[in-house]
Amino acid sequence: MNAKKTPSPRELQLLALIVTERNGREIAKLFQKETGQRLPYGTVYATLKLMEEAGWVSAKDELRDRDRRWVRLFRITGAGTKALNRGREFYRDLADFNPTEEEPANVVVEGGRA
């Protein structure tokens, strides 16, 4: 995945959720809480893996004290923060996109129909 590309809406949502270090399950739970949609863990980990390859996300394995279980913690990197801002700007511009108020009256499209 190209690090310079604009993140997809799903990637953008996930990037925003890992500004603080979280594991996959926490991310999925938080996503559900915020959006009301259930995100399969498979999607979370697969997307995070792709973003890790792009350098947007850093991951580390940690042994959790509570239940002695290995968990993978994800956190946004500097490049990820840049991508997050780039994405936010892109989608804001897209939302603000407003074609000219005065639409041309008769636009003749190639093929004959207006």
Binding site: P40, Y41, G42, Y45, A46, K49, L50
Partner: protein, 158 residues
């Protein structure tokens, strides 16, 4: 030398032996197979000794097959359908799959503890959730393969 290193070394030797026996196409097949069996038995013994001496805890590894062999379905596998496919995945996807399995297990523990599902339906819930988790992992694999397939079967530039 720690148990982990001894295990890694044994695994490396085992892989080399596989290459030298089973994948050596010039060798007659029965000979290669016989030699491989011997090497494999030695590897299994080595790992068993390491595990018995408690110097090797394979729980925290990336899940490389410990003593080789085919995964056999057992009752516990029935409760862990994603375990069936892990042997068919690449090392990298296995790690992702294991993380998903761990999270699913934690979900189920929570569900049972909070009484959100009846024990009778637990198997159904496990299989349904596992199937849903399986799709994105396969899709990621397909997405990785797509450029290669496009290059192979795409329109030629001539």
């Amino acid at each position: 030398m720690s148990g982990r290193w001894q295990y890694e070394l044994a695994l490396h030797r085992h892989k080399e032996a596989v290459r030298a026996t089973l994948f050596d196409l010039k060798r007659p097949w029965p000979d290669a197979l016989r030699e491989f069996r011997g090497v494999h038995r030695a590897f299994v013994n080595e790992v068993t000794v390491l595990q018995a001496s408690a110097s090797l805890d394979l729980e925290d590894t990336d899940g490389s097959p410990v003593v080789g062999g085919e995964p056999r379905p057992t009752l516990s596998w029935l409760f862990d359908p994603l375990g069936y496919i892990r042997f068919f995945l690449s090392r990298r996807d296995r790690r992702t799959l294991d993380l998903v399995r761990e999270d699913l297990r934690e979900d189920l523990r929570e569900m049972i503890a909070e009484g959100r599902t009846h024990r009778v339906f637990i198997l159904l819930v496990i299989w349904w959730r596992s199937l849903r988790e399986f799709v994105p992992i396969v899709w990621t694999g397909v997405r990785r393969l797509l450029p290669v397939l496009r290059r192979l079967w795409g329109p030629s530039s001539d």
